[in-house]
């Protein structure tokens, strides 16, 4: 991206019209011009409050850029956009902490990799081992992860550490198509494909000991991160509402610079329908990650008997949520779109579990399968409607990665470095090559320097089940 098109606000924030891009000059320069084009388009949508923003991991998406954040006020004609959430509604990361230490993991590493690979349904065409009835799916749409706990997948303590305690309000199954429901009957408890993964990680660096203590993590401890979303159910809702909202926008005379921004006023029949359906998908995603967490726990217990596994946190990064924010000195209820951006509540936020009230919300930046991930903590004075980066962000297109890398070689090279990859897709392994992503260190550093969140611990990958 050409920096001369931007005004430098600080060394880690840049402005263009009503858009703010967070990140150092090197990360911004490396971004495609399309990122600026897309966030500028978002900044022209009705009812925007403040600026439309991109996080340091931003890259070219569809409609909104990935790493895009925008808040809208229903009172000011604000809109809700299906393109601002994406197809994989409520895709996110569940992070589990374990009582295992690095040296314990080494003894059973190969075995846990095999057990997880056999037990966790992953990849295109892999159905779940759990089939839900239409009545059960109706309950899941309303109850989210609570349904999973009530059905024996995990325990009530898990819910304390899931956003909104595992269940968002405002879900309305009447606005979900039969096709979306049909797609989910056999997909509960599945990981999916592409950049989704289940990873066993070693805590190899602590940057903020106080926050790390609150999160219950210490050096050489073992965590498990599960990255996935609402599966076919959410994909279908995204599909159904993309065209419906694009048509609504046209009918209502909303001038959209890009059709993919498909949106309708929050207070319109179409806007309300989308929000009702999208909230169902958030609950389905939360239930899906709860089931996968339980399956992972069963695998860990089989290989490491007596292991303690607890939920550290579960945070989504493709959502639109109604939240209270103070803007220009006034408290407002805003619909905050985060597409490839993580919510990052700071210390003392009333929605945080007591354990994290002092240090702020755990924010997870998932990196590539070769370089590692970061856990950060939310800041009280976050300038981006309590949002932060969600991943390393792609640096290279999938097609280019496929031309440049061979999946089998990537898996072998990582094994040489002690990272065990198990996947049914060598194409996927090539596309997800570590060098196809930005440097997660830079993204985490810039996230901290832009005051979006502060670094707590770095996690290095040890075993990765890829979809």
């Amino acid at each position: 991206m050409d920096l001369s098109r931007l005004a430098e606000l600080t060394p880690h924030s840049w402005k263009s019209g009503r858009s703010i891009l967070y990140g150092s000059s090197s990360l911004i320069e490396a971004m495609d011009e399309k990122v600026l084009e897309q966030i500028s388009n978002v900044s022209r949508l009705p009812g925007l409050v403040g600026a439309a923003m991109t996080m340091p991991d931003a890259h070219w998406g569809y409609g909104f850029p990935i790493g895009g954040v925008a808040a809208f006020d229903a009172e000011q004609g604000g809109i809700v956009s299906a393109g601002g959430v994406g197809f994989d509604i409520s895709c996110g990361i569940r992070c589990l902490r374990t009582s295992l230490k690095k040296e314990d993991l080494e003894k059973g590493k190969a075995r846990i990799a095999e057990v997880l690979f056999r037990k966790i349904p992953a990849g295109v065409g892999e159905g779940g081992r759990i089939r839900v009835s239409s009545e059960e799916l109706e309950t899941i749409m309303i109850s989210g992860a609570k349904w999973a706990v009530d059905s024996g997948y995990g325990n009530a303590a898990d819910l304390e550490y899931v956003e909104e305690r595992g269940r968002v309000c405002g879900a309305n199954p009447a606005f979900v198509s039969d096709l979306a429901k049909k797609r989910q009957f056999g997909e509960m408890g599945t990981l999916g494909s592409g950049n989704h993964y289940l990873e066993i990680q070693v805590v190899d660096r602590i940057s903020d000991p106080a926050a790390a203590k609150a999160f219950g993590i210490e050096k050489d401890g073992i965590l498990v991160s599960i990255h996935c979303g609402s599966r076919g159910f959410g994909h279908q809702i995204g599909t159904d509402y993309l065209v419906l909202l694009a048509r609504a926008a046209k009918r209502l005379g909303l001038s959209l610079p890009d059709r993919e921004l498909a949106c309708a006023p929050i207070r319109s029949p179409e806007g309300e329908q989308y929000l009702g359906a999208m909230n169902c998908a958030i609950n389905v995603a939360l239930a899906n990650r709860q089931i996968l967490s339980h399956l992972a726990k069963e695998c860990l217990d089989a290989v490491f008997p007596g292991i303690l596994v607890e939920t550290l946190f579960d945070v989504s990064h493709n959502t639109c949520k109604l939240e209270k924010h103070v803007h220009e000195g006034r408290e407002k209820m805003l619909h905050v779109h985060r597409k490839g951006a993580t919510r990052a509540f700071g210390p003392n936020h009333p929605d945080l579990p007591q354990r994290y009230r002092e240090c702020g919300q755990p924010v997870i930046i998932g990196g590539s399968m070769g370089t590692g991930s970061w856990i950060l903590a939310g800041n009280e004075d976050n300038p981006a409607f309590c949002s932060a980066s969600h991943g390393a962000g792609r640096a290279m297109s999938r097609s280019r990665a496929l031309r440049q890398y061979e999946g089998r070689k990537i898996v072998e090279d990582l094994a040489q470095r002690g990272i065990l990859i198990r996947t049914r897709s060598m194409r996927g392994a090539a596309e997800e090559a570590p060098d196809a992503y930005k440097d997660v260190e830079l993204v985490a550093e810039d996230t901290e320097r832009a005051n979006l969140a502060r670094r707590v611990a770095h996690l290095s990958p040890s075993v990765c089940i890829k979809g």
């Binding site: 998406g61 065409g125 994909h235 065209v243 993919e260 792609r394 999938r398 097609s399 996927g428």
Partner: protein, 134 residues
């Protein structure tokens, strides 16, 4: 006659043909070749899709997204496609086989998007394009 174009996070697909229907069929081949290797697939299972749509661009993504929905809900890897149209009424069939444990996986396509969506005649050929979310 299918092809691909670059996108940072996802993948652009292109279908070309002598008619709109042929271009759509070709694009379906591009899309489902991302999920599996069509050369390795049988075609003993068929699925049908039907829809009404006057707008060619919306018809294109409706065709692709219905195929994705049916293939995924019935756990089928698709390899061959046919599509016909009468006015705004579209009728298609796709063939493939059910996923089996030993089959090599590609990557799952979540949906065809409106981004860089176009259906137009270029020279003697119709060309249909879309970014698909993976």
């Amino acid at each position: 006659m299918h092809d691909y174009f670059e996108h940072d996070a996802d993948i652009g697909i292109i279908g070309r043909g002598n008619t709109v229907e042929e271009a759509f069929v070709s694009a379906a081949r591009a899309l489902f070749s991302l999920e599996s290797d069509p050369e390795q697939l049988g075609q003993d299972v068929a699925i049908g899709v039907e829809f009404s749509e006057e707008d060619l661009e919306y018809a294109f993504i409706t065709w692709l997204n219905l195929l994705i929905a049916k293939a995924h809900s019935e756990r089928i890897a698709l390899r061959e496609f046919s599509l016909s149209r009468e006015g705004s009424r579209w009728k298609g069939i796709a063939w493939g086989e059910r996923w089996k444990e030993e089959m090599e996986r590609g990557i799952e396509v979540k949906g065809a998007t409106l981004t860089l969506l176009s259906v137009k005649k270029s020279g003697n050929l119709w060309e249909a394009r879309s970014i698909v979310d993976v």
